[in-house]
Structure formats: structure tokens, C-alpha cells
Amino acid sequence: MIDLAVKDISHSPRRFIFTCFGIGMLLMVVMAMGGIYRGFVDDATVIVKNTGADVWVVQKDTNGPFAEESRIPEDLKHTLGVLPGVSDTGALSFQTIQINWKGKPNRLFIIGYDPNLGLGGPPEIIAGRPILRRHYDMVANFKSGLRLGDKLTLGQDTYTVVGLTGNVVSPSGDPVIYMTLADAQKVQFQKNNEAIRNDRQRLKEELSGLLPQGADEGRIADALSNDTHIVNSVVLKVRKGYPVSRVAADVERWKHYRAFTVPEQETILTMGLVQKAKMQLGMFRIILLIVSMAIINLVIYTQTMDKIREIATLKLIGASDWTIVRLIVEQSLLLGFFAYWIGFAIINLTYKYFPRRVVLVPFDLKALFVIVMFICVMASFAGVRSALKVDPAHALGG
């Protein structure tokens, strides 16, 4: 049987092509929004995944270190390191900074880690070398705008980019730079000289009268005001075969800190940080799909109305309802099919240039294809209904 839908389209393809392109652009935006959401989720959890830890220990009653502030002593890593089941520990600090780099504001996320311990460092080095010295080395995300050998002054010191790592970003999408924990603590906690002098004086005054006679108030105040041995989280690696949840429970029960397993930490990040973005993007996607459906509906309905006489003639010469329905539904499906692949091609060519990370997941794209095809069938209903109502007598007369 002659494929009437294809014959009609190929006879006057211009309108079909333009419509496909327009709907393809809409579908491209739908794909991009899905990809941006996936990017949000991926960005939110990439540090948790890359750290290689099984348990995240943070300040009690907080959802730290990403969703809430958390400050705990660095030496907790030693205490937790001897808990049953713990094979490795690491102390990490996190801080977002904004610098002016080459005349432009640049937001960066500093991760401080101990290179001598196994946890928390850059997942890979794609250029240069890892951090080998205790001070003034840094490894930067290659998308941070920093290059090997660049020097960056943070606080009172200048740091050199000695290595570049992959696209590791903070939960907010800011590129990560890695430093030694000592350097990161200095950047985060060390005060300038004037502030140190003021703090020291204030503490000295507060301590006077509280300390026993003969105590050196000056030295005590000095030690307290200069303490930078604070971290945002201590991470634990659990021995193979030992229940991670038991380690987390032990930490909470005996050490009075909050402990999250990796899935719990990921839930906090995805549910808390990206939930609104997910809903927002989801709503936009639904709206765009409805708009696409309305356009396809209108186009197919208009095309059907343009063919009323031909449909009446076909009915008069005995064409079945199925022949008529197929003509309309097939055109709608072809419209959706080509529009989808146009959108698919455009997003694959452009997703790298989006300001935020776009992660195209095959499952999402396949699901969208099925949805688009379903929408096309639905959108053809108005056209089909009108076509089936056409009276064959319409073919008679001039």
C-alpha cells in the first residue's frame, strides 16, 4: 500500500522541515534541562564519591559539611582511627572563595586534605604532579581557569598550581582546588596580624581572674587564638566486610559526633541542595512538552484540514478508516521522530558549551523519545477526529 503520509511530506517538505526544526529546538531544551538536572546531582555528589570514604563524621546535630556548617577538631581522626572496623581516616576542610583572576571574578572551592593519608585527595592528575610538599602546592580543576605554574595569593601566602585534575566541582558547581590540610586551614582560619593581636588581648582580659595564680595568661591566650587545627569533617574508610552502619552508629553513640554513610550523605546533598532545582527544571520540562504537544497538535490539525477534500475522495473510493488514521498519526509520529533527532543532534553538539555541567543520560533520552512518540499520538487525535468526521460527499461538487 502506498505510504500516503510519506508521499504527502515528500511532496511539500518545507513546512514539515521547519516544524521539525522548531519542535526539535524545544526538545533540545527539554533534553538540556534533564541534562542540567543530572549535572546538578552529579556535581552535588562528585566530592562524596571521589573522596573514597565510607563514613563522614561531622559536628553533632548538623548535616555538614556541605549542607550545613560543621567544625570539629582535627585530632579526632586519631581517636576515630582506632574504632573497630576503621581501616583509614582523613581530615578534610572545605571552603568556598571568590578571587579576581585575570580581571574576572572566579569562584573556587578549596578542599584541604592530608596527602599522607589516603582519603580526600584529587581523584586523578591529568597534568603536572600531585601535591608532594607540605606547603604552597595546589592541584586545580582544569576548568577552574588556573593553569600549571599559576600563582595564587590566598590570605598571607602564595600558592603554586603544580597539577591539574579532572572536572571535580563543589555541590554548587564551583571548580575544586586541592591544598594540603595545613595550608587550607591557614587560608580558612588564620587571621591577620591585627586580628591576632586584638583577639589575644581580648582573651587575656577574659582569662584574667579565671586562671590559677602563676598561670601565663599571655601564652594561653596566644595558644587559643592561634589554633587552626580545625576541620569540617573527618572521613573514615571501613575495613572490607565490616558493616559501615555499625561504624557510623559507634561514632554517634560513643564519640558524640554525627556520622553519615555515603548514601546518607548523598541523600542530604541531592534532596536538600538540588531538590528545588529538580522541581523547577521538571516543571519547565513538562511545560515545554505541553507546548510541543500543542504545536504538533496544531500543525497536524491544520495539515488535516488542508487535506479534507483528499480525505473525502479517499473515503469515497473506499479507503478504510485505518488508511485515513494511519495517514495522520504517521505524519505526527514522523514529525516527532525527526524533531527528536534534530534536538538530540543539537544538544550533543552544544552541551559542552553550557555554563553548567550537562550530563546526558541514555535512559533519560530514551524515556524522552518514548514520551515524544506518545505525545505525537495524542497530538494527532484532533486531526484524526476531524478526518473521521469528513463526509465522503464532500468530494462531490466543484
Partner: protein
């Protein structure tokens, strides 16, 4: 010769009460194989209603109708799809404005009528080409209708009406869009084809010049057949 169509006391009424219009009243007609009949009358005389009844497009209000000896609507069990099958298999239509499908080429316009009856593509194409050659439009087989002249389009329409070997051809003002000479040629062609293929042809027209040499001419006025 076998009877192709017979109608007895056919009546068609549109509307009811004050808006009632009697479009066809007590019409009787018989057509045999190879015969060419004309239904002649001015606008509003009921010609098109007669054609629509014969073509099973509208159901008559009263009367009996036989096509190929089979009574249509008789026991009330006829469904829309049965009527469509009847049109598809036993009837061919020729229209005033040709009604060729603009997005199909000449050959496809003819082939589709054959394919609708279930004839395989190759066989349908062979039959269509044979008819197009007979009608001297085979050289335009790959062209689209928009590039044809009025006469060529009407010959293609005739080919489409005949390609599936129907027993009845219903032609609605087939010469209205043609000049007199071309119109006469088309009528002559229909008469020849009817004799040659044993098809019954009913031509509905208002143009008295076109009915010369027809086997029967039915004059209609105000929904009634006045004389034969």
C-alpha cells in the same frame, strides 16, 4: 446483459417538519452492463442526491436499491464499512474537479484505487499503466496532477475509476471543468470503455450537449424523474 443497478421508488428526505426537503421522490432506474445512462437536470433537481444514493454515500429514506442483484440496506444489517467495501470493490467515481490526490503522481493516483481492493503493488501498477496507455497519458505517469492539463487530469481520473474493474461507474459532472471539445472526447471515451469493459456508467450532468448517444437519459426536476 446483467443488471448492474436497479432502484425502485427511491426517496430521500432531508430534515423534518418545517425544514423538511424532499430531494428525491419515487425514482426508478435500471442500468445494465455496458450501458451508459445520463441523469440530466438543472441545479437543485436532485441529480447529486441520486448519485449519492447510488454511491451508497447517503441512505435513502424509502425505496429499494439493488447493486449487482444484491439489495442494499434491505434487511438493515448494512454497516458503514460494508458500504465502503461495496464502493471500493464495485464502484468507480469520476468527479467534476477530478479530485486527484495532489501528493501522489499520476501512476500512484491510479494504483491506489487498485491497492485499496488488496491487489499487490506490481500487479496494480501493471494494470494502471495499461489503462494509462489506453487513455494516452502513460507518458505523464511520473508527473504530479498539478502539472497536467484539465483533459489529462480527467483521463487519469477515469483510469482511477476503472483500474479495479468495477461494475458501476458514477460520474459527477465529469465535463464541467472542460471545454466542449474535450468534454465530448471524455464522454466518448466513457462510452467506449463502458462497452469494451462491460461496465455500467451513470453520468450526472446539467449539460444537454454531452448526452448525445447515451443509452438512456433520465430528466430530473424537483427531485423527480420526469421521463426517460
Amino acid at each position: 446483459m446483467k443488471e448492474v443497478v436497479r432502484v425502485e421508488g427511491l426517496r430521500k428526505v432531508y430534515g423534518s417538519g418545517e425544514t423538511e426537503v424532499v430531494a428525491l421522490s419515487d425514482a426508478n432506474m435500471t442500468l445494465r452492463e455496458g450501458e451508459v445512462s445520463a441523469v440530466l437536470g438543472p441545479s437543485g433537481s436532485g441529480k447529486t442526491t441520486m448519485l449519492m444514493c447510488l454511491g451508497c454515500i447517503v441512505e435513502p429514506t424509502a425505496g429499494r436499491m439493488f447493486i449487482g442483484g444484491e439489495e442494499i440496506y434491505g434487511d438493515g444489517s448494512w454497516k458503514r464499512r460494508d458500504l465502503r467495501r461495496l464502493r471500493r470493490e464495485k464502484m468507480g467515481f469520476i468527479f467534476q474537479s477530478h479530485n486527484l490526490i495532489p501528493f501522489l503522481n499520476v501512476l500512484e493516483n491510479v494504483v491506489i484505487a487498485s491497492e485499496l481492493t488488496g491487489v499487490p503493488r506490481k500487479e496494480a501498477e501493471a494494470g494502471a499503466m495499461e489503462l494509462l496507455e489506453y487513455l494516452e497519458v502513460a507518458h505523464r505517469a511520473a508527473k504530479f496532477p498539478a502539472t497536467l492539463s484539465g483533459g489529462e487530469m480527467q483521463r487519469v481520473a477515469i483510469a482511477r475509476a476503472l483500474v479495479h474493474d468495477p461494475s458501476l461507474i458514477l460520474a459527477d459532472e465529469p465535463t464541467a471543468a472542460l471545454d466542449t471539445d474535450r468534454g465530448k472526447k471524455v464522454v466518448a471515451l466513457l462510452k467506449n470503455l463502458a462497452k469494451k469493459r462491460g461496465v455500467g456508467v451513470i453520468v450526472v450532468t446539467h449539460d444537454i450537449r454531452m448526452v448525445e448517444g447515451f443509452d438512456r437519459v433520465y430528466h430530473m426536476k424537483d427531485g423527480s424523474i420526469l421521463d426517460e
